[in-house]
Symmetry: C2
Subunit: 458 residues, 2 copies
């Protein structure tokens, strides 16, 4: 990127909103997956027009553009693999509209997910997607990755709540997709094509969100097991019994060990696995579901604890959300996967990871969204130990093969990014992959928007 281009970028953005100093660029060289490629410049646009102009410039001069929310993604989506310009969206952080009558919100992509949720809560409304990073991740990043979270088992994921958008294409063209009504089938469903496209097709500039009424009541439970098999086997049985939790988070004994101190009360020594389970709905519904749950669990080898107040509940959640960062107490690096298997296959998958850990002499922990079969598998390694690194990569490969054999998918909510691109062909046929690449080229003929993500470089 030469001086002339930088000058033009400065003219578009205002000089204060363009960074070029190496020490500043270093802050944008990584995301939640690691990475250390500093971009050549970082831009902080404030509106759609600026982004359109930047894209026109980038398309003309073939400058790689990497959109960035909070950089909390887990698969390298925000890493400027080919350098170029990082577009940080955090100045576009206004909630433009909350339409209570029609249960719709319109927001810019830089809005922090948790902040939107807090604002809505005050009005008795809910936007369900709740990734563990909700206190800092953004709606735009959530849309790009199709983020999920613990509430997905009952409420679904980001794609179920974004019904329309405004976006800028790599050519600079501005498109608007979708509707602001409950239903809509006018033309092709571009909205859903864009959600989960990992910043490779467009830059979101406005999102139309579907809202729900805030549930009246909720209860949080901890189910403690002395045997991991019992925990994972219970999941499908429980859902089939007609109990519909809004959360069903699972932790194996290693996951428990890294957050043990953060739990509200000490766990029995023999706890080998736990489920964090929440019920929500109207008061009477929650009561009825609680009665059902107690009855269902009565004859089973499990200890049930109920969070007694909001503080205990918050501590439980804090512990759950801390697992991922807390794992670094075990090893300095990790290979973090968010595979999904059909619910009934969770026991098989969890047994497989145990065997794998033993066989390859690795620490592998499993936790996450058991209710929808989306299990986070963390393979802990020290990258400076080349032997261990190699065994870690081998574990990842064997894990993916097993997941596909079980009828599962490589990623439930983190996306492919750079970390899984080489494995995509395990799951997707050559014909389908070719079609995806053709779509990428249709949107982005010069491959300037987030190049090197999802697809392996030629």
């Amino acid at each position: 990127m030469n001086k002339e281009i930088l000058k033009q970028l400065g003219d578009i953005l205002g000089r204060d909103h363009l960074l070029t100093a190496p020490e500043e660029l270093a802050c944008y060289s990584f995301d939640g997956s690691g990475g250390d490629v500093p971009p050549q410049a970082v831009a902080f646009p404030e509106n759609t027009t600026q982004i359109s102009k930047i894209m026109q410039l980038a398309n003309k001069y073939r400058i790689p553009i990497v959109p960035r929310g909070a950089g909390s993604g887990m698969t390298g989506g925000a890493v400027p693999l080919k350098q170029g310009l990082v577009l940080v969206m955090n100045r576009m952080n206004r909630i433009l509209e909350i339409d209570r009558d029609n249960m719709i919100a319109v927001a810019e992509p830089g809005v922090i997910t948790g902040e939107l949720q807090a604002t809505l809560k005050k009005q008795g409304l809910m936007y369900p997607p709740d990734p563990a990073s909700l206190k800092f991740c953004t709606l735009g990043g959530n849309a790009a990755e199709c983020a999920g979270g613990p509430s997905a088992v009952k409420y679904g994921v980001t794609r179920d709540y974004i019904i329309g958008c405004e976006a800028v294409m790599p050519t600079g063209k501005i498109i608007t997709t979708g509707v602001r009504t409950e239903k809509g089938v006018t033309g092709y469903d571009l909205t859903h094509l864009l959600i989960g496209s990992e910043g490779t097709l467009v830059i979101f500039t406005k999102l139309i969100l579907r809202l729900l009424p805030l549930p009246e009541a909720g209860k949080t439970f901890l189910l403690l097991f002395t045997c991991i098999d019992q925990a994972v086997q219970l999941v499908a049985e429980l859902l089939q019994s007609g109990i519909m939790p809004c959360t069903m988070e699972y932790m194996d004994h290693t996951a428990i060990s890294v957050v043990r101190d953060r739990l509200p009360s000490p766990l029995p020594e023999k706890t080998e696995a736990l489920l964090l389970l929440e019920l929500d709905g109207s008061r009477s519904e929650v009561q009825q579901q609680t009665d059902r749950l107690r009855k269902f669990l009565a004859a089973r080898p499990v200890t049930l604890q109920e969070a007694e107040n909001e503080a205990q509940r918050q501590r439980l959640w804090q512990a759950r959300r801390s697992i991922s960062p807390a794992t670094f107490s075990l090893k300095p690096h990790k290979i973090s996967e968010d595979v999904v298997v059909p619910r009934s296959k969770i026991p098989t998958l969890v047994r497989f990871t145990s065997t794998l850990a033993e066989k390859l002499k690795l620490i592998i922990l499993t936790f996450g969204h058991a209710g929808d079969g989306n299990i986070h598998v963390n393979i802990m390694i020290d990258k400076n130990d080349p032997e261990e690194y190699k065994r870690g990569q081998e574990a990842k490969k064997q894990l993916f093969r097993q997941v596909i054999t079980l009828g599962g998918t490589l990623s439930g909510e983190h996306g492919i990014g750079t970390t899984k691109a080489t494995f995509l062909s395990l799951e997707i046929t050559p014909e389908t992959l070719e079609l995806m690449w053709d779509i990428k080229q249709l949107f982005d003929p010069n491959n300037i928007l987030n190049p090197g993500k999802i697809f392996i470089d030629e």
Copy 2:
């Protein structure tokens, strides 16, 4: 289509599965929207390989291909506008798999929606999308149009239940999209791009469906109003009060008049509008919602009737589903639209249609899915009266303009097809429309698959 091509088609299909006699072709010249263009031939493929071979042939010789389910679509999707070959999917009608543990079904596109639902019901499972035509329409047609129905207010539409598919592209290439798990973000979301693409991008050959547990209980109510405004105003208020019906169907006095004889009990003379409302869920939940509903309605000017048994309930539904065909007792033809407005705008829209009817001296009735703002507007005409036909077209145009002004969309579940293609640009910007057309060309470079639908011909 010359003899040689017909011979090749016969070789692929078996001669018994190819029709060419004029009296047979006539049966495939129309769909639920009318139409009278007979195709040159009709094929009944039985598997994906045959379809792939047919598409290769069609692509080579530029033969228009029109996929057809039950032909019950309302916007011309199955009308062979450019003649060519109609592909009737009704031999591919197997339910391939019902996986109760993982709440997944796999089915061929020719399966009749209502038959799948009946089969699932026996196993305590539910596939929610319930278009009025459910007794004869097919899953493939539902997928192509992204069909909805009365249950959409609570459960959503077809796109919320199809999570993956196998499909044949116009080039003959076979692709597989999506997952068979609750979550999945691997590569672009092609599944959703294909759903609602109105048979213009691919031919579905296999569909993976997400299922729900069958609700334990349900209650059906009829709410009678002496004033139409009160009926439509109640809708948003009721949903905001925390009551979540699984159906909230509205009929104005003209809609009532055409099915009055089919209702289970006589209505009071002064009934100007009614809402057909259903609650479902666990027994206690339904009871609680019923109590809430009675309390909510107590102070309001509405008469509440409850269906006393399954027979009464079935009659109510039969009446509701008969509205569309029964309207022909008023006039021999109709312009049938399924516009959507934000829920709070329903009163404005309904008032607008009354004024429009008066101004243009037309019979216009409104009914449909009030819960999600998807109002069916039927403009009744006699096409043989050129003046009335013209006024009908004028009413349609003014209706669409008003819907867009109110922040609505042209179609909630019927699609664009041929009947609304000229109006698409009212709602979709030139940039977005161009992108949709580019996608069409990417899939179908020779424009052989369902040409003339959605997009206006050059």
